[in-house]
Symmetry: C2
Subunit: 427 residues, 2 copies
């Protein structure tokens, strides 16, 4: 018998308990012995829970798990930085293997955690940390191991994908869709980590380090969320043959890794454009395999529970058969993140200008002087003196675009630069 301690009995923790119970017989067959939860850390011992659980399993003292010599595997499902990181490191020091869904801790401290695990002959598995039920960590570690992965595009956050889908399909504003997502349990009371893009940034950092075998500092990743997306932009995108997604991007370059999270226009016939609602996807390109895309629900009790339990099965099987999965990360390079200023992108720009002769000429001259060349211009007629003006640029350096926008802002005829969104045409 193998013994588990679970840190945290929230949404995912309860899912893991359910799956371990429901599929116990099958899991026993796969592992070769029974897998049993012997302790679960909770905040409140007396809280009413939506799963039946033996009260004797519960503890509010983490030491009952971390320092419990009976426990083989610690399943960390508290989330956040501390005390999760501390619990993981101390459990490893005590010779326990770790299964976690904590993207923040893996993205930020992965390297230290993996080294500590190596020193202590422990395993660390984290399939649940990226894209919920979608198998991607292990496929990068094994099925795709023969490839040099060149780029990864992902929709890695279900909350924002739900909001953007809802805004687009039902012509809603951001605030209305966010509230809807909160009512349905797809967004948290404090939704900032999701909607500001940080959640996706942790996830793409984890994928990029595995795929490119380069560690980067997650704090260097450029992050932009979806608060500023207007339903007008979604409508205009649709008119021009695009959808808007919160895209996580990682490209393997010679000098560094181009890794960033921001809203992006994507051609509407691209497979990624079809991933709607709370679904996540990962779309990657390897030198041998070509394009691979996978999609599944990116969050939630059962999908993430599925990934975490799969890791538990793998680690339990390895312990039972005296094996240890070797993941060689000692050859991974420390790598820079390419500065966003230096990256070339195509842009969608929406301006509000006064309907006067000459305004277009003024704007076009500024773009020309700053090497910004235009792919298309759309002027919407309106029955008032303020008109929206929409541009899509060819590839330009971000700093050249920024310089021209600063100059355009100063023009008398320009009322406001309403939206600046990157366009990913060569995805």
């Amino acid at each position: 018998m193998l013994k588990l301690g679970i840190l945290g009995l929230g949404t995912v923790g309860s899912g893991v308990v359910k799956i371990l119970e429901k599929n116990a017989e099958n899991i026993k067959n796969k592992v070769g012995t029974e897998v049993k939860i012997i302790k679960i850390l909770v905040n409140n011992l007396d809280k009413e829970r939506d799963i039946e659980i033996d009260k004797n399993l519960l503890t509010d003292n983490a030491e009952d798990i971390i320092n419990n010599p009976e426990i083989d595997i610690v399943v960390e499902l508290i989330g956040g930085e501390q005390p999760a990181y501390d619990y993981i490191m101390r459990s490893i020091e005590n010779g326990k293997s770790i299964v976690t869904a904590n993207k923040l801790v893996i993205a930020k401290y992965g390297k230290r955690i993996f080294r500590k695990a190596d020193e202590n002959d422990a395993q660390v598995c984290y399939e649940g940390s990226v894209a919920g039920g979608l198998p991607i960590i292990r496929p990068l570690q094994n099925s795709l191991a023969a490839n040099r992965i060149e780029k990864i595009y992902g929709i890695l956050n279900g909350t924002t994908n739900y909001i953007l889908t809802d805004m687009s399909k039902n012509k809603k504003d951001f605030d209305e869709s966010l509230k809807n997502a909160q009512d349905l349990g797809f967004a948290e009371a404090d939704p900032s980590s999701d909607i500001d893009g940080h959640d996706a940034a942790y996830k793409i950092t984890i994928l990029s380090s595995l795929a490119f075998e380069r560690f980067v500092d997650v704090r260097d990743v450029y992050v932009e969320g979806i608060r500023e997306i207007k339903s007008t932009d979604l409508e205009l995108a649709h008119e021009m043959g695009y959808v808007i997604k919160l895209l996580a991007i990682a490209k393997n370059g010679n000098d560094g890794v181009d890794i960033r999270v921001h809203p992006a226009f994507i051609p509407e016939d691209h497979p990624i454009a079809m991933i709607n609602g709370t679904y996540n996807c990962v779309y990657l390109h390897g030198d041998a395999v070509g394009q691979v895309m996978s999609t599944a629900r990116g969050a939630g009790q059962m999908p993430t529970g599925s990934a975490v339990t799969a890791d538990i099965i793998q680690v339990a099987k390895d312990i039972n058969y005296n094996q240890r999965e070797v993941q060689r990360m000692d050859s991974f390079l420390e790598s820079n993140v390419t500065k966003i200023d230096e990256i070339e992108n195509s842009f969608y720009l929406r301006l509000e200008v006064e309907d006067k002769p000459g305004v277009m000429a003024h704007i076009a001259k500024i773009f020309g002087d700053n090497n910004v060349s235009l792919a298309s211009v759309l002027q919407k007629q309106k029955d008032n003196p303020v008109v929206p003006l929409v541009f899509i640029t060819h590839h330009v350096k971000e700093k050249d675009l920024e310089k021209s926008l600063n100059e355009i802002k100063e023009l008398d005829d320009v009322i406001e630069i309403k939206s600046v969104i990157r366009v990913e045409n060569d995805i």
Copy 2:
């Protein structure tokens, strides 16, 4: 250093040689030691090849590999039943681990091969046997291991998917699209294994055994190919909001496994309907994870080479670190395949009838008498006395449908039953 012997230097074999060479440094890092090809079995030592290869590596005697005590891993890429099966079994007896892309041998003799490997402490990996570069064998073995998988739908043959896409997009006949596929190298000179569905049947059998943990006899799998699909059917499908795909289906039932390969109408807004050209996809449903779909190129030198090389890396790493991946298959059940007669399906039927009063009434009566209820009827007007009549049925038992079609065939007004294609509405 770990030493490989490769059986077969055709398309995939050459791909593996290229990848091992191109990514040698990276593969060495992953494995922890160099992986080196020391012998390659070929038919003709003097044949001109499109890759540069040291002639001293080539042999036309399989024993130089099977009985070579230096060789750690045998990579079987001959394909077909014999001598591939014999070479695999004898290599295992000699203590060598196997990497293969041979779907026929794994589908037909998997159980014996895995048992033999267990007895000899050898590993057998076969990611390349299903859907080329698409990671699916290992994800079923590990990332999805916590699930009870309920059903799998796949487009598992790139040749037929290319032909159906070409027929549909360019309004071509089957023969013309087949020739086109052959000219482009997407279909073989003898294309029967692909277009008659046998290739897909081997693959879905392999997936079903892993996913449901039940071995079935591949000879019991119902198989129907795409030779009889007419461009008229593709046009009518489109008119009714469907596409036609060669679908591989496996559903886990209480009494047996419903497993079959046949052309099917699929709603055109379903993700599977969007998989075109030589792409493959696997779409599955697990009790915890929900729906997961993956897509990638399903064949070809580099995609399949990617999968085979990933297996080589995994096995080499395990040998180097004195590990052995345990895949417990001893609890797998022997299972029946549900007879196609007993399965309920919805059907598309296209008849040619004489344009006379009463013909519809006659047909409708026969359907009614046999419990076949109709979901929709489409009668195409034509300027001649022969008119096409199209039905889509609700779910009916296959044997009830067959009985009514036999009766309808005998009607004087019915000239011919042109097409009978299953409709998968609840995919």
